[in-house]
Every structure is written in structure tokens, then in C-alpha cells.
């Protein structure tokens, strides 16, 4: 990672487009993060799954009939500016 940058781990939903067959359960369970396009295929938000939705996200992953949905860990670099802001607030 870049010098002076910190990273945080967060979870993100991901669709395997080859496996997905547009059952749409994910959008039903988790409309906050998944919408469907006009052909019924999921458009998954690229923002991190917020803690409040984690349980639902896990269910959506487990209930996908095609096992096309997954929760992946991603590392995000946090800009030093934000880190300073957080520490100054303490």
C-alpha cells in the first residue's frame, strides 16, 4: 500500500455473472444493496455492506439458488487526512 496510508477491511457483495440466472432473491432480501435491471439480473451496489445489513447479506448469499452471490473482503486505503480527522476528534 501507499506510504502513510492505512487500510480497512470491509465486505462487499459480488455476483458471478456466469452463474447468475436471475432468480432475484437477492434483490428481494436486500433492496438496499441490490436492484434488478429490466431483464431481472442484479445490479449490486459497490459500497461496503453496512453492519446493520450484514445478517441479511449473509442470508442473501446463502439463499441464492445458483450460488452466484458472495461476500468478499476488500481492502480500502484510508486517506491520511481522514485518519487525522478521526484522531483529532478524540
Amino acid at each position: 500500500m501507499d506510504h502513510g496510508h492505512e487500510t480497512v477491511s470491509e465486505l462487499q457483495l459480488r455476483v458471478d455473472p456466469v452463474a447468475c440466472d436471475a432468480f432475484g432473491y437477492c434483490a428481494e432480501l436486500l433492496p438496499e444493496l441490490v436492484t434488478l435491471d429490466e431483464w431481472g439480473y442484479p445490479i449490486v451496489s459497490d459500497r461496503a455492506v453496512p453492519p446493520a445489513l450484514l445478517e441479511l447479506a449473509r442470508r442473501a448469499v446463502a439463499e441464492c439458488p445458483r450460488r452466484a452471490l458472495s461476500l468478499e473482503v476488500r481492502q480500502r486505503a484510508v486517506k491520511p487526512k481522514r485518519v487525522r480527522l478521526a484522531s483529532s476528534r478524540r
Binding site: 458471478d16 455473472p17 456466469v18 436471475a22 435491471d37 431483464w39 445490479i43
Partner: protein, 440 residues
């Protein structure tokens, strides 16, 4: 894929590197190759390999297959793997308007094979598979003859073989190629982490475009300083382009990166101001026909939403209709979809139909808005880049042919829509003739 293309031998430039043999009238045989380029360096010692590896990093060479990824980074990643990699030489050239990899293999097969041996040494590859579709008969034949010549002289440390995967548009996409070599059906596979190498039966796979490897062969011989002596500081060297469409001498040329598009078109015989110029390939982008001063280099093209891509420079004549041409190209790409990913399988035919209706003057009032919304949601959601490329092309058409698009949307198509196709779209049915009143 029956593009009839010839090599334009423009002798007015001293940037003949990959095509040095051909431009001097030489044949594709090994002796001529060695006379012109000299012997390939033997990379038996670690210090020699390190030197070439460093030169490759410093020269800034990027992949010439379309994605433009830094070659040295790909090689370094594969060199760090525990298992010995498999090297696939990608001469699939699925872009119907592109002929440069074919011409390169026909004219200078040994340069490609030298480069493959160099890359194989750097990553300790166990085997090299040269992938040329059987449909590209001249190139496949030249490769076959060249491999036999080298085998007779025991020239190469790494075993090479020739393979003929199916000639589909997406067959050369690297995961599709790896899948085919692994015994699969040759379809793109979903790779969530593109930073990890693909594997074929536990072997990590390095896929390099044929032209890229020819550059590698020359960097290994002459070093990075030589490579960087032409082109731009940020995009050095030469590149092969295929000039297609409405020019007097369509064909393959070697140009310095950064050469203005207009100058390249002058060499190919531009009869007059074009209606638009297609850059990269079918999954590329249109630029305005008056924007010919733009340098053919990644940064300048990116500003216009275009890219060097596979090196296609396609000229649409002023009398042709960019909307109709785009409709045909997107229909072609939709047909070439492997049908694996929903957004591509359903999205591209929908976009193609919108463009088709637009082109022939059968647009319903909601068409443009619907088309724009579709183009927004499709990208980034397929296993390979095919849908993204089709969307890029369609979006560039809406931008570049903007006023024309507005007229078409008002059911007043330009006279050019009846103009025949400029670029080959094998397999695409004739444009549907929506009679007036089919849609309210």
C-alpha cells in the same frame, strides 16, 4: 472473418521495426530473419534474464492485444509463481477489422517466436502454445513452417506447439483462451480477482499477444533505450495498426505511438474528410471525423473516450451513416456474446434493436431515453469485456454523431442509412427494414 487486407509498405518512415523484414522485401524464413534482426539473445544465465527483465520494465511496453496492460508487470507476476507457467501466444485476433497479428505472423513469424522464447525464459515457462485460428490460414501456415524451421536447428530451449482454437470474437479473451487450452469450450470465465494468474491444470498461465511478444524480442536484443527512441515518453515505441474502411489502401502499418491519426490516414490514402473514425476495434469508440490531429496514443485517446485497443483505425466515409454502422457493429457484438452473462445476453440485443430502429427512422418517442438507460446499466457486469466494449461504442456514437442521432430519433434518418456496411460484420443479418408505423 474474411477481411481482405494487404500490407501497406510505407517506406517514408524509419520506424520499421516489427515489419523490418517485410518492408525490405524479405521473406518470412529464418535466414532472412537472422540477417535482418541478428540472433536472439540466449538467456541461460540469471544475470542475462535480469537484464532483459529490467529492460522490459523500463521500456514501458504495454500489451498490444487490446487491454494495454504493462507487459513487465504481467511477466513479473508470473515469474513469482511456485509452479512453472504455461505461455499462450495470443494470435486469435478476433476483431474482424484487425489484421495486424495475422500480417505479423505471415511476414515475420520468427520475431513472434523469439519473443515467446524470451518471455518463456523470464517466467521459466514449461511450454509455449501458439494460438492461431485455422481460419487465419496464412498466419497458421507461416507459424507452422517457422516452428518446423526452428525445430530442425534445435534453436529453442522451450517446447513450442501450434493450436487452432475456434475463431470467435471472444475466443482470444485471455480467460476464454486458457479455458480452451485446458480442454474447455473456450468461453470467458468469471475471475473475481484479476490480479491472480489463471491456471490450466495447476500451471499458472501467461497470455501475451503476438505483437507484444515481437516487441519483447526486439527489446531483448536492443534494450529499452533503443525501444524508447521513438514514440512518446509516456507511450514509447511503435505499434501495428490496421487501417480499415473508406481509404484507398487499407491494410497494416507500423507507426510510432503518438503519430497523429490524420497522418496515418494520409499514408493509407484518405480520399476526403471522413464522417467519423472508429478507433481500437468494434469494442472501441468513434471520434469525430474532424478530430484527426489527435495523437494515436493512450492518454490522448482516453480524453476522447477512445483507446488504442487492438490498433484498428476505421474510416467511415462522409456519405455513410454512423448510426446505421454502429447498429450493425453492436448487432455483431450481440451475436458474438457467449450467452453466459445476463446483462450481455439480453442487454446487447436490446441495445442493438434500439440502434437499429433509430438508424432506419423507426424510433418510438421513448427510444433515446431507454437506450441511454440501458447503456448505463450494462457495463462492468459481464465475465469479459465484450458488453463493456459494445456499450463504449454505442455511447461514443451517441456523442460523436449527436446531431444526426437527434434527427434519426425524430424519424428523419440521414440519407446515409441505406449506404452499405463499411466494416465487416460476419453473420449479421441484413438490417431490418422497419416499415413506418410498426411502433406507435
Amino acid at each position: 472473418m474474411t477481411t481482405t487486407t494487404t500490407t501497406t509498405t510505407a517506406t517514408l518512415r524509419d520506424t520499421s521495426r516489427l515489419l523490418a523484414v517485410a518492408d525490405n522485401g524479405g521473406g518470412p524464413d529464418l535466414d532472412t530473419h537472422l540477417q535482418v534482426h541478428g540472433p536472439a539473445p540466449q538467456l541461460t544465465r540469471a544475470a542475462e534474464r535480469d537484464a532483459v527483465s529490467d529492460a522490459l520494465s523500463r521500456c514501458g511496453l504495454t500489451g498490444r492485444g487490446g487491454a494495454g496492460f504493462a507487459t513487465a508487470r504481467k511477466v513479473d507476476l508470473l515469474a513469482r509463481q511456485r509452479h512453472r507457467p504455461l505461455l499462450l501466444v495470443n494470435a486469435m485476433e478476433g476483431e474482424p477489422a484487425s489484421a495486424k497479428d495475422r500480417v505479423l505472423l505471415e511476414r515475420s513469424p520468427h520475431l513472434v517466436l523469439d519473443g515467446a522464447q524470451v518471455a518463456a525464459s523470464l517466467v521459466r515457462a514449461s511450454r509455449i502454445v501458439l494460438c492461431v485460428p485455422a481460419e487465419h490460414g496464412g498466419a497458421a501456415h507461416a507459424a507452422h513452417v517457422a516452428l518446423a524451421e526452428r525445430a530442425r536447428r534445435h534453436l529453442d530451449p522451450v517446447r513450442m506447439e501450434l493450436a487452432a482454437p475456434p475463431a470467435r470474437y471472444a475466443a482470444g479473451e485471455e480467460s476464454a483462451l486458457a479455458d480452451w487450452v485446458a480442454g474447455g469450450s473456450g468461453l470467458p470465465t468469471f475471475r473475481p480477482d484479476k490480479g491472480q494468474p489463471m491456471t490450466v491444470r495447476r500451471s499458472p498461465v501467461l497470455v501475451q499477444n503476438a505483437e507484444t511478444l515481437a516487441h519483447v524480442a526486439l527489446v531483448a536484443r536492443h534494450g529499452d533505450g533503443w525501444f524508447r527512441s521513438v514514440g512518446l515518453p509516456e507511450a514509447a515505441g511503435t505499434t501495428l495498426v490496421t487501417v480499415a474502411g473508406a481509404v484507398e489502401r487499407p491494410g497494416v502499418m507500423e507507426v510510432e505511438l503518438g503519430t497523429p491519426v490524420g497522418r496515418i490516414l494520409d499514408w493509407a490514402g484518405l480520399p476526403g474528410p471522413p464522417g467519423g473514425v472508429l478507433l481500437g476495434g468494434y469494442g472501441g469508440a468513434w471520434i469525430d471525423g474532424s478530430d484527426l490531429d489527435v495523437p494515436f496514443a493512450p492518454a490522448a485517446l482516453r480524453q476522447r473516450g477512445a483507446a488504442v485497443g487492438a490498433g484498428v483505425i476505421g474510416v467511415l466515409s462522409a456519405g455513410a451513416c454512423g448510426v446505421a454502422e454502429t447498429a450493425r457493429l453492436v448487432a455483431y457484438l450481440a451475436d458474438e456474446s457467449a450467452g453466459q452473462c445476463g446483462p450481455c445476453m439480453f442487454g446487447l440485443p436490446a441495445v442493438a434493436e434500439d440502434l437499429d430502429r433509430l438508424a432506419v427512422g423507426a424510433a418510438d418517442p421513448a427510444l433515446l431515453e431507454r437506450l441511454r438507460r440501458r447503456l448505463e446499466v450494462i457495463p462492468g457486469r459481464g465475465a469479459c469485456g465484450l458488453p463493456d466494449g459494445a456499450v463504449r461504442l454505442a455511447q461514443s456514437a451517441l456523442r460523436v454523431f449527436g446531431s444526426d442521432v437527434a434527427n434519426h430519433a425524430r424519424r428523419r434518418p440521414c440519407p446515409g442509412w441505406a449506404h452499405g456496411p463499411t466494416f465487416p460484420t460476419p453473420g449479421v443479418r441484413r438490417m431490418s427494414l422497419w416499415t413506418t408505423g410498426t411502433r406507435r
